[in-house]
């Protein structure tokens, strides 16, 4: 177990180092998220729909799509020179490759959230201060679910003929039980309801995270047999 975590951390560090030095995916995901937040504002009539009603949906839709940008790169960076073979030849458990990739993606996605949530608060004029703690909990739970499924599908999609085109088609149905609870719970908090009102949604998110983190980690070795 300790080996598994240590190896995963190594792989996550490798991916984060690549990302930190190139900054290509992170920057494009941030810009994409900001553009999405801005464009969504003009898709509704602000005199008819209040921003408090609009913001949770915008936040989670934008966040989901920008997450996809990072997820595709996750295994995309292993494609040139078949770098994945090097990882597979390493004397580590296959699960730790998945876990390491997922960990790097999680940090990536949390980084995107750290910019997107304040941006939504700013542009939509939302009082996020008092609900910051429960909101961060929702964001973390949603990020874990998103990344568990997305990392596995990224590993599969890069080996198909459609590559990055297939990733949204595979992932988005799986993001539905993440986006609905996250947006609903956020809406409850933003409209000043007690945290208890959002609890059923949080439980659903947590259940999703547990089931799919385990299932995807167990499924990953099946996708890389040669």
């Amino acid at each position: 177990m300790r080996d598994l975590l240590r190896d995963s951390w190594l792989i996550a560090r490798k991916d984060l180092a690549i990302e930190f030095r190139t900054r290509s995916a992170f920057l494009s995901a941030i810009v994409f998220a900001l553009l999405g937040i801005v464009i969504f504002y003009f898709a509704w009539d602000p005199t008819a729909v209040t921003t408090v009603d609009l913001a949770p949906g915008v936040l989670w839709v934008v966040f989901t799509f920008s997450g996809l940008l990072g997820l595709h790169r996750s295994f995309g960076v292993e494609q040139p020179d078949r770098a994945i073979d090097g990882l597979l030849a390493a004397p580590i458990a296959r699960e730790s490759i998945y876990l390491g990739k997922a960990l790097a993606n999680l940090i990536f996605v949390i980084g995107v959230q750290a910019v997107a949530i304040p941006a939504v608060a700013l542009f939509y004029n939302l009082p996020v201060g008092p609900v910051l703690l429960p909101l961060s909990a929702i964001a973390l739970l949603a990020a874990i679910g998103l990344v568990s499924v997305g990392t596995l599908f990224s590993a599969m999609a890069v080996n198909t003929r459609l590559a990055e085109l297939l990733l949204p088609m595979l992932s988005l149905p799986f993001f539905v039980p993440i986006v609905i609870p996250a947006a609903q719970a956020t809406a409850k908090l933003m409209s000043g309801r007690p945290v208890g009102d959002a609890l059923p949604w949080l439980k659903l998110l947590l259940a999703f995270d547990i089931v799919f983190a385990v299932a995807c980690m167990l499924a990953y070795p099946f996708t890389i047999e040669e």
Binding site: T160, R161, M169, P173, L204, F212, F222
Partner: protein
């Protein structure tokens, strides 16, 4: 599709079902002829769920036993199931418009069926996008299993979503207790559609076998 005793039996019973449904089953008092679509809609939905259940089961068994046959069963069942789900999604709005007054409503069951359709559409697309046969079988088995795991979550989230909101009174479904004659037709429809499913599954499976025999190693283009 080759004509077999099974396919003849399936076609005949489906024909009998429709003749009985149209001419020998009484009209529903309030909905009138529109309600007749039940005998197509409900059995198609049953077959769709049955087909996807089989995809999940065959996927688990494939990863365990690595039998090519199981992969072909999953492949065939997913395609046939996708077709029946399409029938459900087309007949549903056709029935909903005259009876509920709207083509579509984000009710738990409708939403679930729609996402089922999306998942298995992705499944079929994924199969077509992987050239290596063993990889295709493993990938689609993984997606088949995860898809089956996803269904309760989608159901739960859309169910919670729905019950937390007031429901339009107009769209309340009527009492499901059917009079005897209608129930008999419906049960007949369930039986004949299941038979049709088995016949189509077999035909699609046979196609997969012939294709794999013709191209034993090389990739095929779907």
């Amino acid at each position: 599709m080759k004509v077999t005793p099974l396919s003849i039996a399936a076609a005949t019973t489906v024909a009998i079902t429709f003749v009985r449904a149209i001419f020998f089953t009484p009209l529903e008092a309030t909905q009138g002829p529109a309600q007749k679509i039940l005998y197509l809609h409900a059995p198609a939905a049953w077959v769709a769920f049955l087909a996807f259940g089989l995809v999940g089961l065959a996927s688990v068994l494939y990863l365990w036993l690595r039998e090519d046959r199981l992969d072909r069963i999953a492949e065939s069942s997913a395609e046939v199931g996708l077709m029946f789900t399409t029938v459900v999604l087309v007949t549903g709005p056709l029935w909903g418009k005259p009876v509920w007054g709207t083509w579509w409503t984000w009710d738990a069951r409708l939403t679930l069926t729609l996402f089922l359709w999306f998942i298995y559409l992705a499944y079929v697309v994924l199969r077509g996008a992987v050239d290596d046969r063993s990889m295709r079988a493993r990938y689609s088995a993984v997606l088949g299993i995860l898809g089956a795991l996803l269904i309760p979550f989608i159901h739960l989230s859309v169910y919670l979503f729905r019950t937390l909101h007031p429901q339009p009174i107009l769209m309340k479904p009527g009492a499901p207790s059917l009079p005897g004659e209608m129930l008999a037709t419906l049960l007949l429809a369930f039986g004949s559609f299941t038979l049709l499913y088995v016949a189509l599954l077999r035909a699609r499976y046979r196609y997969a076998v012939e294709r794999d025999d013709a191209h034993p190693t090389e990739a095929y283009v779907a």
